[in-house]
Amino acid sequence: MIRDITLGQYYPSGSVLHRLDPRTKFIGTLIFIVSVFLFRRVPGYAVATLFLGAMIVISRVPVKFIFKGLKAIFVILLFTAAFNILLTPGETVLWKWKFLTVTKEGLVLAARMAVRLVYLVIGSSLMTLTTTPNQLTDGLERLLRPLNRIHVPVHEISMMMSIALRFIPILLEETDKIMKAQIARGADFEKGNIIQKAKNMVPLLVPLFISAFRRANDLAMAMEARCYHGGDHRTQMKPLKYSRLDVIAYVILAAYLAVAILFRVLGL
């Protein structure tokens, strides 16, 4: 039941997008997000739609999964749209009731914000759907490496991130198992008031913490046994390497960004 909540919702389909270097995808996503804010009018958004649509087709991820991310922001989307529509002052008033006014400017703004929000979510979903969490942290580590110069422990941070990511599904699974074992012994995690509910969690939390600490301890021992130490001069088993695919991708991205900037200058 609990494992259905997949974090880092990677969808393996082995497409070209999946094979790109995570750095490329990360920067690509950033460029896409920037472009969505550069565009202002319909022709611009048509270009963004075209670009996003092409990426979705290339990724070979079923559309159903791509739109899943939208469910989470549906409420936010509704609120921003409502506020923008009802509270934006403007010249051409279409409808008025007390302090609420619907103006043409408001409608345009609401539509623009909605499109931006939706594209932002779809764009970043596309990245997480085609990149494993580990690749993502690897890519991020490489991109942030220059920060090492100002003594930011980039490697350690990314190590912690990837361990945390690695453990989330394991802990979820463990929670599921312990919950089932206690339910089998008649535990009830739903009934009662808040205090009772908190009390009922004890049979779940105690074993969960014990196993989490045991796992953390085991992992630390295993790392030490293999003489792990992070930081300088550490090499990777699979170092990130740009391939020809990435070069092509960067060329396309640069062209796309240029178009976006051009559109902005032209006011499209």
Partner: protein, 310 residues
């Protein structure tokens, strides 16, 4: 000759004297279960399973890793809801709105694969009391049940006040089994209760489970990877393969299909292979015996009838 007759024994249907316990029948009707339905990781763990588990049987479930054994037994006490199909307890659909699933979990006790998953109290006795107290018993009544259950699984009284986390793996298993047994279930389901135990501890626990079956007349459903254990204890053996029931019969019958078991990543007990080879080499033994003493008798008898040198 007497051995030959035994091979056709029917599946025993409950012990006499516990007839009224025919209440306690579990039935799976065309049950399928799919993990992570609707995602990229969909796994069909059970594929249209139909089974009846009448009261009083000692049922063994065997199958390769990932064949769906654990998934199957979690259906028996309503821990997971079948994606398709029905689970019936005494003829009632356990997922009907008005069915008391908490009550069912007291009647169908389930011990999980790794017992350290469920221990949480300060001392062993309190931990075992958790189940009975959830059933609404007072602390005194629960303790009485708990003590009885702990002794029944061979847990020493002097350890009752120890912390469950100081115990060895075998002792933890015993406490976990007692924790479920203390709820007085009619059906006891055990998922690999002997994983990670030494041979002595394994035999002890299995003997105690068999004893419970005899004394209390409760149904036992035992998941195990050991064909030898199955041959020794189970009166009925269900073989799972890729979410389907491949065989469901008395162990002897199942083992006689040992050639079909091998592609499923299973094997008959070693003794079956010895007997088969002896038979092929011309010794008239009964190749369908499954335990060591039976094999010994059969070989001795065969040697005698052949008049060979002993």
């Amino acid at each position: 000759m007497s051995i030959m007759k035994e091979t056709k024994e029917p599946v025993p249907a409950g012990k006499p004297g516990v007839e009224e316990a025919s209440a306690g029948t579990l039935e799976l009707k065309d049950v399928s279960y799919v993990y992570s339905e609707g995602t990229a990781y969909e796994i069909r763990a059970l594929d249209h399973i139909s089974l009846t588990m009448p009261s009083g049987q000692f049922i063994g479930i065997i199958g390769h890793t990932g064949s769906g054994k654990s998934t199957l037994i979690q259906h028996l006490n309503a821990l997971i809801r079948p994606t398709e199909g029905q689970v019936l307890y005494n003829g009632q659909d356990i997922w009907a709105d008005d069915f008391d699933r908490k009550e069912l979990r007291g009647q169908v006790g389930l011990v999980f694969q790794y017992p350290e998953h469920q221990l949480f109290e300060n001392d062993v006795l309190s931990d075992v009391c958790f189940g009975p107290m959830n059933q609404g018993l007072s602390r005194e009544e629960a303790e009485e049940q708990a003590k009885k259950a702990l002794l029944q699984v061979g847990f020493k009284e002097k350890n009752f006040k120890k912390s469950p986390f100081e115990l060895s793996g075998g002792q933890k298993k015993r406490v976990a089994i007692a924790g479920v047994l203390a709820m007085n279930p009619r059906v006891l389901v055990l998922d690999e209760p002997t994983a990670g135990l030494d041979p002595k501890g394994r035999d002890e626990i299995l003997d105690q489970i068999a004893g419970l079956h005899e004394e209390r007349g409760i149904t036992i459903v035992l998941v195990s990877h050991s064909m030898e254990d199955m041959a020794r204890y189970a009166s009925r053996l269900i073989v799972m393969d890729h979410g389907k029931v491949a065989f469901d019969d008395v162990p002897k019958e199942v083992f006689s299909h040992y050639k079909e078991l091998e592609p499923m990543g299973l094997a008959a007990p070693q003794i079956t292979y010895i007997m088969q080879t002896l038979k092929e080499r011309g010794l008239p033994v009964d190749e369908r015996v499954t335990t060591l003493p039976e094999a010994r008798d059969s070989i001795l008898a065969a040697l005698r009838t052949r008049g060979g040198a002993l």
